[in-house]
């Protein structure tokens, strides 16, 4: 309000004299509790949409729960089923291999691109914006287009290979070929995003360091290795963690690449944990088993992140 602020009796400013210790205590309580009140909305939302589903999923995973019927207590039977199921280990392994195939080239490429974009050049903003375009594309659209590109009979990739004299590859049905094709979709979508994060990290590295390094006779490559990379370490850690989580939850790309079916190919050659979970829940209607897969995946991710950060911390010290 634009009016002049005047002290109003009985509000904020305590009148001198009467009731001071009581009011003072009230102020102290308010001072201490206010921050909690301010962050409460987030935690309420988190409890409703984060914590509750998580706990409820754990509860469901202890039951036999078919779509459209009642829950039946099973204890840890679903976990025993899961841990003795070769399809689960297959999915775990495929998630890992596709994760490596997609994350490593993606982050390396992103680092290189960020380095190039860090230079002063014409149309820099245009290039930076275009980096983010694939990220803004829907997974479904991207995966559909790539599924066509990697088609056996009329796909553009095989056509290009044909020009070089390579025989048509059955991308979809092959083991590594299908994983490679899916990794390409992931790399295409996420490289630009990571490049922009790296670029932001690079811009926060002091120019003085580069000047000092240059004075000492460091080459561009040496500057990159000894100034840029150490300066980017927290950023790199962040992208590695986020990509690892993304890779362990990979779902949309292999689902749509597989024509909307969660089998991940005839031999499950690209069935990720996400697809395996979806298959249990929606193809077979076993929500209890799907919840079990979800929880085991969640625990795996926690372990992965802890390992990640532990390694990073050891390297930092």
């Amino acid at each position: 309000m634009p009016t002049v602020q005047r002290p109003v009796p009985g509000e904020r400013t305590a009148p001198p004299g009467a009731g001071t210790p009581w009011r003072a205590r009230l102020f102290r309580v308010e001072e201490r509790s206010a921050p909690y009140a301010y962050v409460a909305p987030f935690f309420l939302l988190f409890a409703a949409f984060g914590l509750f589903p998580l706990v409820h999923t754990a509860w469901i995973s202890l039951h036999s729960y078919r779509l459209g019927s009642e829950m039946e207590w099973l204890g840890l039977e679903n976990y025993a089923w899961l841990l003795s199921n070769p399809a689960f280990y297959n999915a775990l392994w495929k998630t890992f291999t596709i994760g490596v195939l997609s994350t490593v080239p993606q982050l390396a490429l992103a680092l290189g691109l960020a380095h190039l974009l860090h230079y002063r050049m014409r149309g820099r903003t245009f290039f930076r914006v275009s980096m983010i375009m694939p990220y803004a594309t829907s997974v479904a659209a991207a995966a559909l287009v790539f599924a066509q590109l990697f088609g056996r009979d009329a796909g553009a990739v095989n056509w290009l290979l044909g020009i070089v004299g390579v025989d048509a590859v059955d991308w979809r049905n092959g083991d590594w070929t299908a994983q490679l094709a899916i990794s390409v979709i992931v790399i295409w979508r996420w490289t630009g995003y990571n490049a922009l994060i790296y670029l932001a990290g690079m811009q926060s590295i002091s120019q003085d360091l580069y000047e000092a390094a240059a004075l000492d006779g460091a080459s561009r490559w040496q500057q990159f290795r000894h100034v840029t990379l150490p300066g980017l370490r927290p950023t790199i850690l962040f992208t590695v963690v986020v990509s690892t989580i993304g890779a362990s939850q990979l779902f949309g790309e292999p689902l749509i690449f597989g024509g909307g079916k969660p089998d991940g190919g005839a031999l499950g050659q690209y069935q990720t944990l996400g697809l395996f979970m979806y298959q249990q829940g929606w193809t077979y209607g076993s929500l209890g088993r799907a919840a079990t897969v979800a929880w085991v995946t969640f625990l795996l991710i926690i372990v992965l992140v802890l390992v990640n950060t532990r390694i990073a911390k050891r390297r930092a010290t």
Partner: protein, 434 residues
């Protein structure tokens, strides 16, 4: 530049991000549904794939003939995504449409496990329509207590669709009757395939996929995965094993284009490009083939009977009314009208879904299809439906069929030995069905 994160804070941030990211699991929401007040009714219809009602304009006509009724229609292309979504809505009792489509592979599950979630049509205006069908159609939608949970839309009698131009180039008969004369059994069909393969244009296979071939063979059987008592016999039924082995052998011999049906984009493209010369086609695939091959494909395809004139059935559907519907009366009138013989005949003429009522089957007996070289599709599919056995359906048919098709794909595309693929398929089924 202020506040560069210390390693410790980075760790915390990373962990928080990790946890938050993992928690972002999707939840489902339901839609709304209209209800009656003063004479006006808003009916919702939820279907999958192509039932043909919207295409033929039946909803518009029903609205015009029944003032006060408005129909909201939505369709999901894939039945495999449509059904799970419907299941969650049925379970929660909200968001279901007044009329929902049910695929024939689900009907056994509906009558055995979900009788309380669907309306018994005997108590509705649709009751009079129940007696109009081919003998097996309505019993399949009837519970042990006699409740009828769905009205049949179409059935899936089978034929062999083939490319006249490709067969001609390979020196095989192109006329339906001449071709049928050379195919008395499925083995003859495979033998013709070997002949075709020897002389075929490059990049063209005799048939599309081993899985599709397998499905065609078992569709002519009465007992497939369940026996009459309802016990699982998928691993002991010799007919299933024989069909599997025949299809696997065809795949190994290179007679298949290794294109998974409805999944591989190359399968769709193959109808136009000629990646495969023949495909066992249920009537509802007629419209699909036309759509994929387009105008340029007119006159290239023809239809003949299954080997030896065998009858078979693959697919077909029902319309049901969820128990949660607030407009049961009006919904029942709508489904009775949509599935009435006149409307079924019209849908067949437009999109190829073959009628399931006896009166409509008589109406379409003379139908020919100019796109398919004037093939007498009415006569071919009528004969197939007449000769078809009364199949025994079971709640896990879909799961078992999918496991078999996957295993056959691994034979043709990944070089897995048929015996190993069979073992893998059985293990798959055991793991899920128990």
């Amino acid at each position: 530049m202020t506040g560069r994160p210390t390693p410790r804070r980075t760790t915390t941030t990373a962990l928080a991000t990790a946890v938050a990211g993992t928690l972002l699991l999707a939840a489902c929401g339901g839609g709304g549904s209209g209800n009656a007040d003063d004479g006006t009714v808003e009916l919702t219809v939820g279907l999958f794939g192509t039932f043909g009602y919207e295409e033929v304009g039946l909803f518009d006509r029903y609205e015009a003939e029944n003032p006060g009724v408005t129909i909201t229609y939505e369709s999901t292309q894939g039945e495999d995504t449509y059904w799970p979504a419907l299941q969650t809505r049925l379970a929660s009792g909200s968001g279901v449409a007044d009329v929902q489509g049910i695929e024939v592979a689900r009907i056994a599950d509906v009558v055995t496990n979900q009788a309380d979630l669907w309306t018994d049509l005997r108590d509705t205006p649709a009751a009079s329509a129940i007696g109009n069908y081919v003998e097996w159609k309505e019993p399949a939608a009837t519970t042990a207590d006699g409740a009828v949970l769905g009205l049949g839309t179409d059935i899936g009698p089978m034929g062999i669709c083939y490319r006249t131009d490709l067969l001609g180039q390979a020196g095989l008969p192109t006329e339906p009757t001449a071709l049928a004369a050379r195919m008395q059994t499925w083995d003859d069909y495979v033998a013709l395939g070997r002949e075709y393969q020897a002389a075929a244009p490059a990049g063209s296979a005799w048939m599309d996929s081993a899985g599709g071939f397998y499905n065609a063979i078992v569709s002519t059987e009465q007992e497939i995965y369940y026996d009459a008592s309802g016990a699982l016999v998928h691993d002991s039924n010799p007919a299933v094993r024989a069909a599997f082995d025949t299809a696997a052998a065809a795949g190994q011999a290179g007679l298949t284009a290794r294109l998974e049906q409805f999944v591989d984009p190359g399968w769709d493209a193959g109808f136009a490009s000629g990646s495969f010369a023949t495909i066992a086609c249920p009537s509802w695939m007629i419209g699909y083939i036309k759509g994929k091959a387009g105008d340029a494909g007119a006159g290239l395809w023809n239809v003949t009977t299954l080997p030896g004139g065998a009858g078979g059935n693959w697919g077909g559907a029902y319309l049901g009314i969820p128990a949660a519907s607030e407009n049961v009366e009006e919904a029942a009138k709508l489904i009775a009208w949509l599935t009435a013989p006149e409307q079924q005949a019209e849908v067949f003429a437009s999109v190829g879904n073959f009628p399931s009522t006896t009166a409509a089957i008589e109406m379409v007996g003379d139908a020919t299809d100019p796109w398919f070289n004037d093939a007498p599709i009415g006569q071919i599919f009528s004969a197939s439906s007449t000769n078809a056995p009364v199949q025994i359906l079971g709640p896990q048919d879909g799961v078992i069929k999918s496991a078999m098709v996957q295993a056959l794909l691994s034979v043709e595309a990944n070089g897995v030995a048929p015996a190993d693929a069979w073992t893998a398929a059985l293990a798959d089924v055991t793991n899920q069905v128990g």
